[in-house]
């Protein structure tokens, strides 16, 4: 049976409502979840059920296009970029193309929501009910924006895509999804997806080696021997954890993320190419693209200070050039700082009012030997003893 798929990334009605399905401006579908982009995980699932031919249509903003283009998913996949109404027009045209090529069924889904659906079961449901169009629904019977369409149903497809997957031309038998579901509306949902993956609650398996129970480390990741990683945790490929850093309580560092010395990352996610500065305390947050989404306070802030949160260059050549420049600049910078510190050193003020009597007092002995020549067994009352360190 020739079943083909149309994957739609974007097409959200109102990005201002908070349900933008983006984190730091990048669609959640392109962001990594435990080492693999969400869209790639959806594609793998489709392939697992024998749906190998698919077209990806997305509306990524131009500013975030470089990152989206770098997302590691199947590059052989036909990929269309369209915005606004053209986005849905492209979906309709793709559907007509599949119909003309003789496909038996077309699966149209928006990512958007991450759904672990049994496609075999859904297609069987579609065939058993002799449906023209089938719609996947959750436990509360709301649409999951996943449809199976008969290629002959061109008007139904047109109505579906022109209504932005909100309306159907005719009633259909809904297919209730029993598997894992995450709507990926915001940063909190993305965080939940990765935590659920770490805790084994869904099929999102870490794309890394388990170096000790619950600690997953990707290819080329570097963890300083003085850093501590408490399970469960995920350190993505080529991520770096510097000395005295602490990665704990289900924290996730995606590929090329970097945590500087002494920084604590607790119950948080660092998106790819994110660098956290030294001595920070990041808890319950999703950090990336110079944005920090605090999950318990439900707020997202832009951080422009590169010492706190920075984004590493996407290209390996740029990163290497940056590291080399930093290495060569280190020694001259230290020498310059040394000279600068010497030149700015201030001489103590010559204040006769302060200096004269104090010096005279300092010259006088504090402890006088008793006239009798017998040493006193007690400390004199005018002597204060100050210890620098605790009890020892």
């Amino acid at each position: 049976m020739d079943i083909r798929a149309i994957l739609l990334v974007g097409g959200v009605e109102d990005p201002e409502t908070g349900a933008s399905e983006r984190v730091g401006g990048v669609p959640s579908a392109y962001l990594d979840a435990l080492g693999v982009p969400v869209v790639e995980r959806v594609l793998r699932r489709l392939r697992h059920y024998g749906i190998c031919r698919a077209t990806l249509i997305s509306d990524v903003p131009a500013a975030n296009m470089p990152f989206a283009q770098r997302a590691e998913f199947d590059r052989g996949l036909p990929h269309l970029e369209a915005e606004g109404d053209e986005f849905w027009d492209a979906a309709e045209e793709t559907f007509h193309g599949y119909a003309n090529e003789g496909a038996d069924l077309v699966v149209a889904l928006r990512v958007g929501p991450y759904i672990e659906v049994d496609y075999d079961e859904m297609i069987q449901h579609h065939l058993d009910h002799h449906c023209v169009i089938s719609m996947a629904v959750d436990a509360e019977s709301s649409s999951l924006e996943l449809f199976v369409l008969d290629p002959a149903a061109r008007f139904d497809a047109r109505k579906l895509f022109q209504s932005h997957m909100q309306h159907l031309r005719r009633d259909c038998e809904p297919f209730p999804v029993k598997g894992y579901l995450n709507r990926l509306k915001n940063a909190a949902d993305l965080r939940r997806l990765t935590v659920d993956g770490l805790m084994g609650r869904n099929a999102v398996r870490p794309e890394a080696m388990e170096i000790k129970p619950g600690v997953f480390v990707g290819r080329g990741a570097r963890i300083h021997r003085l850093a501590r990683v408490v399970a469960p945790a995920f350190i993505g490929a080529r991520a770096k954890v510097h000395a005295s850093a602490l990665i704990t309580r289900g924290s996730v560092l995606e590929h090329h993320a970097e945590v500087d010395c002494g920084t604590v990352v607790e119950n948080s996610t660092l998106l790819p190419f994110t660098r956290l500065g030294a001595g920070l305390d990041v808890t319950h947050a999703v950090v990336g693209f110079r944005h920090l989404a605090h999950l318990t306070r439900n707020v997202e802030v832009e951080i422009t200070d590169a010492k706190l949160v920075d984004m590493l260059p996407l290209s390996a050549v740029s990163r290497l050039a940056g590291s080399t420049a930093a290495l060569f600049a280190f020694l001259p910078k230290q020498i310059y700082r040394g000279f600068q510190a010497l030149s700015h050193r201030e001489e103590p003020a010559d204040n006769p009012e302060c200096g004269g009597p104090a010096n005279a007092l300092l010259d006088a002995p504090v402890l006088e030997a008793p006239a009798s020549g017998v040493e006193s067994s007690e400390f004199p009352s005018n002597l204060a003893v100050l210890r620098r360190y605790g009890d020892h």
Binding site: A188, D189, R191, R192, V195, L198, M199, G200, E210, K212, P213, G214, R228, V230, A231, P232, L246, T248, R249, G250, V264, E266, N267, H284, L295, T296, N298
Partner: protein
């Protein structure tokens, strides 16, 4: 992930962990920590009072264990010890399990369900709170025990 099983030492902490008790406790566990790749679990079900000295001992033991490529895990936290660990922000340095058995098993395989709740329902927009934990002490007697 399954690893080659090495002995895991389970040590029940005393009811009071003040300076005096902490020093005594440290003396007792020091031999276990000095072994190669020590795997130690502290059962904190009996702890009713823990102060800075007690926390210091925990950190010292963790440092010693990690230095020798081992690990220290905590189990069956009493409400009192859970509060102090959270207050001093030291709880996040340790893997904390609901009971000693789970903590022992966690050295050979990852047991997500046995871990104390780690995520404060991130999507709910709630401030994470550390509620009183169910104290589930194991049946071992006081003192150290070895589990394979």
């Amino acid at each position: 992930m399954e690893t080659i099983s090495r002995p895991v030492v389970v040590k029940r902490m005393p009811e009071r962990m003040n300076l005096k008790q902490a020093r005594k406790f440290l003396k007792e566990v020091q031999p276990f920590l000095n072994s190669d790749r020590p795997q130690v679990v502290f059962d904190m079900s009996q702890v009713r009072h823990i102060d800075a000295a007690g926390i210091d001992v925990l950190l010292h033991c963790m440092r010693e264990a990690v230095k020798r490529d081992g690990d220290l895990k905590l189990a069956a936290l009493s409400p009192q010890s859970a509060v102090v660990l959270e207050l001093t922000r030291t709880g996040r340095l340790f893997e904390i399990y609901e009971n000693s058995t789970a903590a022992v098993k966690s050295f050979s395989s990852f047991l997500p369900n046995a871990l104390r709740q780690l995520e404060p329902q991130v999507s709910q927009g709630e401030v994470p709170m550390l509620g009183p934990q169910a104290v589930n002490a194991n049946d071992d007697g006081p003192g150290a025990s070895l589990a394979a």
